[in-house]
Amino acid sequence: MTARGSAARRRLVSSIMTGACACAVVVALVPLGLVLAYIASKGIGSLDLAFFTQLPKPHGETGGGMANAIVGSLKLIGLASALAVPVGVLSGIYIAEYPGSPLASIGRLAADVLNGIPSIVVGIFAYGLVVLPMRRFSAIAGAVALAIMMVPIVTRSTEELIKLVPASLREAGLALGATRARVTFGIILPAAFPGILTGILVAVSRIAGETAPLLFTAFNNQFWSPGIDQPTASLTVQIYSYAISPYDDLHRQAWAGAFVLVVMVLTISMLARLATRRLERMRIG
């Protein structure tokens, strides 16, 4: 085979492979586009101001909204993050800082196993852990269930990002007479922060869409639920219960709820990317 022939062949293979990869990207994007388009077309029509401001109406009446479910979802996500972020970030730091210790290997394995546990099982666990002793469904029970799902994601992403910080930065800090704790919290953690933030927001958008862990924990509520020890409505559970109901009006509300939920998750993802990029630019210049 001549050199010219092999070069032509190489170019052919190259363009075939590039084309195949581009096709795969399109295939991956199609479901996302379809889902978004379908939810938007079904949901936007049912959205009105009442959806954001009013409580659900009793069966038979039309109108009403999901104001309590929107607030409930935000409350659950906020509580879950408050529980999971400190635990996840600190355990990620430990695993990255003491990689050889037995506790770190166990922690890493546990995080991976926990990540694979079906969310319904996590819900049942939180039911046993919080709902039974409290003798009622509550926002805190739902938050615990969601937090259990967040911790492994935050832990592993924190660990990975701390390991990505060059060892030379650590040495530079130590060489200036900084203690190990100072270097970890004053240099390594800030350097890894944009990535850790992304990991946290990935975990948030992951749990924002969860229904199963909330069924036995936060349950649902047709009214406002003050505090954190009462059954609490959430967008996902509300969508679920409306979607399985036999009424067209409730189906429309479910579509509207689904649309709001998707927009919320997309906003979180966008914020994550924006924040990461801005922080990176501040550092590198």
């Binding site: 050889g100 530079a172 007479g177 900084a178 550092r283 590198i284 210049g285």
Partner: protein, 316 residues
């Protein structure tokens, strides 16, 4: 303070009063001329001439530093089971530049990192022997490693500014060591940046990220960062190896100027650089100190054939 002056050999003459104040009694083996070095590292000492630039009043061999700031004695170092340094004994003179040269993997960086206990962070590493700073064993139980590293600063091969602003990079060491008030920090940041010959280039953009500077500027920023806390000794691990010739020249000029106020130890692969900037040169090979002498002597009349082969580029 002069009353504290011990009755020591005449090599101690140039000791300043302030240094004496810091000095603790040291074993008699630590005269200005360590017997270990003579015994196993220098065979050609009889050929030494009396030329004594930078060592006024010294009546000892030219290879004997007038005032020993740091000294390694019979230092062994192990990475796990692998021994990296064998019986290194080396004095480091105050306000002079000591260059460590040798082929890759010869232990010169390992030795350098023993001087501020940077190797402590390597798991399963082990040090045998002593390293003294002003006569005190830095591996002794009463020495605080954080305090040691404040006194013995370090500049690394690859510039490693923190992901912070130029100002905060230099101020970091001051802040963590609680040196100075706010206004004093600003003064000391400026002083350090001036000492590192970087001030004029960055004075208008102190808030810009340190990582946005050019490679040579980043390295000078790291030098400024090390200078800000006013260490007594500065260790430099191939500080110019990643720099272009112009930036290298700037760093070398800087080393020459810093010599008057600091004690400097520099690891370099660059023979010409060692010859240009250093007063003393130690030649390492396979974890052993082959030869230590005045730089002039090493480069003009080395005591060992293997040193000559290395500096003339026959191997390495």
């Amino acid at each position: 303070m002069m009353a504290a002056k011990p009755t020591k050999p005449e090599e101690e003459e140039p000791v300043t009063a302030s240094q004496l104040a810091q000095k603790t009694p040291r074993p008699s083996a630590t005269t200005a001329r360590p017997p270990e070095v003579s015994a196993h590292a220098r065979s050609g000492e009889s050929a030494s001439t009396g030329a004594s630039a930078g060592a006024p009043g010294s009546s000892a061999s030219p290879a004997s530093p007038a005032v020993v700031r740091m000294e390694a004695r019979n230092l062994d170092f192990f990475y796990g089971p692998a021994q990296a340094l064998y019986q290194i004994s080396l004095p480091i003179e105050r306000n002079a530049v000591t260059a460590l040269i040798g082929p890759s993997g010869c232990g010169k960086s390992t030795f350098l990192r023993c001087l501020n206990r940077m190797n402590d962070i390597i798991p399963k590493s082990r040090v045998v022997g002593t390293v003294t700073l002003d006569g005190v064993d830095i591996y002794g139980g009463e020495v605080d490693v954080v305090d040691l590293r404040r006194r013995v600063g370090m500049v690394f091969q690859k510039s490693n500014p923190f992901p912070k602003s130029i100002y905060e990079n230099v101020a970091y060491g001051l802040r963590i060591n609680r040196i100075g008030r706010r206004s004093q920090i600003a003064e000391r940041v400026e002083k350090a940046l001036r000492e590192a010959a970087l001030w004029d280039e960055v004075k208008d953009r102190l808030d810009a990220p340190g990582m946005g500077l050019s490679g040579g500027q980043q390295q000078r920023l790291c030098i400024a960062r090390a200078l800000a806390i006013e260490p007594e000794v500065i260790l430099m691990d191939e500080p110019a190896s990643a720099l272009d010739p112009i930036a290298t020249q700037k760093v070398e000029d800087l080393i020459y100027q810093l010599k008057s106020s600091y004690t400097i130890v520099i690891v370099t692969h660059n023979m010409q650089q060692a010859a240009r900037v250093s007063d003393y040169t130690a030649f390492f090979m396979l974890g052993k100190l082959v030869e230590f002498d005045r730089t002039v002597k090493i480069f003009t009349n080395p005591g060992k054939a293997i040193t000559e082969d290395y500096i003339t580029g026959r191997f390495g």
